[in-house]
């Protein structure tokens, strides 16, 4: 209860221009997501696969009193959660890589994390490529984060970024091609 109230209040405060609230919010969302992800990451629930986007949504339902937040606050939440989810998966992949380094095993989501729907995607490579893309075009980097890590549709991500849907769609098509080349260029 108190936690839900805190996150909701922070969202509203941020939406009202309180920039400090953003950092607090990031921490709160990150903690909750990591706590929820931990069970999956430790393979404590072998019968379940981790769907990062479902996790983000569960966390949203848990933390945010939806009756009290306006649309913009929901958008802010997903923007933050996408970023937090990315950090969690990258941190985890790094830790695993450190363990496996000697064996020279490639760390992919599929073999390392029971992640649903993301076959054979190297999360660290994606993270690095996303950084490169963001340096070139921050908006597209953000869009991918929202799409891939927060699980938003194009329409939703457009709403979060304040873009027309057609613009977001164009951004997505180019970002996707760019990342594909970056990550799968060897298959072309």
């Amino acid at each position: 209860m108190s936690k839900a109230l805190d996150v909701t209040a922070l969202l509203v405060a941020w939406n009202n221009g309180d920039e400090d609230a953003r950092d607090l919010l990031m921490e709160a969302v990150y903690d909750e997501l990591r706590r929820r992800a931990r069970g999956f990451l430790r393979r404590e629930r072998p019968d379940h696969s981790l769907a990062p986007t479902a996790l983000v949504n569960e966390t949203y339902l848990k933390l945010v009193d939806q009756r009290r937040v306006q649309w913009q606050s929901r958008a802010h939440f997903f923007a933050i959660a996408g970023h937090a989810m990315r950090r969690i998966l990258v941190d985890h992949a790094r830790a695993r890589r450190a363990v496996k380094r000697d064996a020279g095993t490639r760390v992919s989501w599929r073999e390392d994390l029971p992640v649903r729907g993301s076959h054979d995607l190297d999360v660290l490579a994606l993270d690095a490529a996303l950084d490169k893309l963001a340096a070139l075009d921050a908006r597209k980097g953000h869009l991918v984060e929202l799409r891939f890590f927060a699980g938003l549709t194009i329409g939703q991500a457009a709403a979060v970024l304040g873009l027309a849907k057609a613009t977001a769609n164009r951004d997505w098509v180019l970002a996707r091609a760019w990342l594909f080349r970056e990550l799968r260029g060897d298959t072309l």
Partner: protein
């Protein structure tokens, strides 16, 4: 690559994509104007694009980012497409059993809403048969407060013969959307509840039980309430359970056997036990909905589904009056009786509930139209002042003053909807080092100035700002009045180190407080007064400017008042000052009048 270069790549990439694949290379060559870097980059991206279909898209599965959804795209049913004689115009959202679209009936040339059933329902012949039989019954329900079902259509969607519903197209918002902005005024709640009860009564008489009455299924339109999805809940699929926080979620079909149908926070005990349901089941949900309208809070809420189920089966919700002290006791009893665990102990017929609501409404109207003197036996200010501490000592959360302006000129305006004022000042807790508060308190002072208005006094039972915010929010006030210094944290006030910053602290807290309240309740206005802080009009203006700069949505809703006449007369016990204050409050409420009638959305 430079930012400029990337922009050119971006533009050229998309321009090339609009051409046939065979022409692209030549086009890029021509348009890159000899810049080899650009040409290579675009061509390589175009090649990647050919292979990138579906790449990274899977990450997006499973999203239920409720409320952000602006598009809907099930295969084959798309805006611009057709479904039998219906031209699909745009998506309206996802309803209980499938997606809903705005459509045009090309035969009758009228606009309708179309709900396409989900394939899992459409695919099972027995489900479909039952669905069609029930749809036929529902289509005979003709009532102004039930969304009319015009027709049952059939079309192929993804290779499956899929029935779809053709319904009355409604303009407005759902009660769920309205509740997102907080509680509703009592009289509006009663009006909406009466219409729901009447609609239920007619349906029950036809043997139709709604089964899934909830705010999301109640539409508020300019012509009143419309109930959606009547009797259709049982075809929503195997199980619809809900999170504790609002959004419906379809539970894992394999984990539950399809026995439970409904939306958890509004489900009656017998539904949870999978016992037989009847009209009284709807009355339980009705009670939960009315409770939420009046309080802004769920009747049953918990952190997990299991706890929520336990709450519904075993616990009584907090009394209405605890959330909303203005609730007439009869209304509280009506809701309690709806929420009885045992159907035999509930109201037995929706029509009885409708009658009772009408009576409660009449009693309220009578009370407003014929104010009695007994509420305020002695109008001398001494006795009114004396009441406050007694009431507070008695542990009342708030004090309600049902009293009226002696000359009665406020009566006509209040005959319909009495504006609610929350007074944030609290006797004995006001800490303003610059104010001589030796005699009584600010609240005492204001009791005369505010005589004639419906005022709820906030007793500061805790120093938590959020607690106060929550309490005030639940009152759904038209106006919040506060002294500039009233929100000080008493514990902080004891701290010497902070003493000198007290005033700045108060300003800051009040700013946050109003900013927050203003964001969650779009109609509430705020009046801040100070005996001496607003020494000049410039200071007053600057203060307002600073607050508005931080919370732009308070623009036009934040009013200030400096108490005129110098320090020695800076008290509302001075009749002239009290009169000025009263006039200002009236002026603010009149300003609001124009928006009062707009509680229901217009087309």
């Amino acid at each position: 690559m430079s930012a400029d270069g990337w922009k050119r790549v971006d533009a050229l990439f998309h321009a090339a994509l609009e051409r046939p694949a065979v022409d692209r290379s030549a086009y890029v060559h021509a348009q890159s104007l000899g810049d080899e870097n650009i040409r290579r980059e675009v061509e390589s991206l175009l090649t990647a694009h050919e292979h990138a279909e579906g790449f990274l898209e899977e990450g997006a599965e499973g999203s239920i980012a409720e409320g952000l959804e602006t598009d809907a795209n099930p295969a084959d049913v798309r805006p611009g497409g057709r479904l039998g004689a219906f031209e699909i115009l745009d998506a309206l959202g996802a309803g209980g059993m499938g997606r809903v679209y705005r459509a045009r009936d090309t035969r009758l040339d009228r606009f309708v809403a179309i709900k396409v059933l989900s394939p899992e329902i459409a695919g099972d012949p027995r489900s479909r048969q039952r669905f069609e039989r029930e749809a036929r019954v529902v289509s005979r329900l003709a009532h102004p407060h039930i969304c009319t079902l015009f027709d049952l259509g059939l079309a192929r969607v993804e290779g499956v013969e899929t029935p779809f519903l053709v319904m009355e197209l409604l303009d407005g918002e759902t009660l769920a959307a309205r509740l997102a902005r907080g509680a509703l005024p009592i009289e509006q709640s009663i009006r909406i509840a009466s219409q729901i009860a009447e609609a239920l009564s007619v349906a029950h008489a036809s043997g139709i039980v709604h089964r899934d009455l909830k705010p999301a299924n109640i539409m508020l339109t300019s012509s009143g309430v419309k109930l959606l999805d009547f009797g259709l809940a049982r075809w929503r699929g195997p199980v619809v359970a809900s999170g504790t926080n609002g959004a419906d979620r379809r539970a894992d079909a394999s984990s539950t056997a399809g026995l439970i149908i409904g939306t958890l926070p509004y489900m009656a005990p017998e539904q949870l036990r999978a016992d037989a349901v009847d009209g009284r089941t709807d009355l339980f949900a009705f009670g939960a909905v009315l409770y939420e309208m009046l309080t802004g809070a769920r009747a049953f809420a918990a952190d997990s589904q299991a706890a929520l189920v336990a709450a519904i089966l075993e616990h009584e919700p907090a009394p209405l009056a605890e959330h909303q002290p203005l609730t007439p006791p009869a209304l509280g009893r009506l809701v309690t009786r709806c929420l009885a665990k045992n159907p035999a102990e509930r109201w037995q017929h929706a029509q009885d509930v409708a009658f009772e609501l009408t009576e409660i409404q009449e009693r309220i109207t009578d009370r407003v139209a014929r104010p009695t003197a007994t509420r305020r036996p002695d109008t001398s200010r001494r006795s009114v002042r004396g009441l406050l501490p007694i009431a507070l000592v008695a542990g009342l959360l708030s004090l309600l003053l049902w009293s009226f302006v002696p000359n009665g000129d406020n009566r006509a305006a209040s005959a319909t909807t009495q504006p609610v004022i929350v007074l944030m000042d609290s006797p004995g807790r006001v800490y303003d080092p610059r104010t001589e508060a030796a005699f009584g308190t600010n609240a005492d002072d204001l009791s005369d100035a505010l005589a004639g208005f419906l005022v709820i006094l906030h007793k500061e039972s805790t120093s938590s700002m959020w607690h106060r915010e929550d309490w005030v929010r639940r009152q759904n006030p038209d106006l919040v009045i506060s002294h500039l210094s009233c929100l000080l944290d008493a514990r902080k006030a004891d701290n010497d180190a902070l003493e000198k910053d007290l005033f700045a602290l108060a300003e800051h807290r009040l700013t946050l407080f109003f900013g927050y309240l203003g964001a969650v309740n779009a109609r509430t206005r705020f009046l801040v007064y100070s005996r001496n802080h607003f020494a000049t009009p410039e200071i007053e203006k600057k203060w307002v400017g600073d607050v508005i700069a931080r919370f732009p949505h308070l623009k036009g809703r934040l009013h200030t008042m400096s108490v005129p006449g110098g320090r020695e007369r800076a008290t509302f016990r001075d009749p002239a000052t009290a009169q000025i204050f009263r006039e200002q409050v009236k002026a603010i409420l009149v300003l609001r009048e124009g928006t009062m009638a707009a509680d229901l959305p217009k087309p």
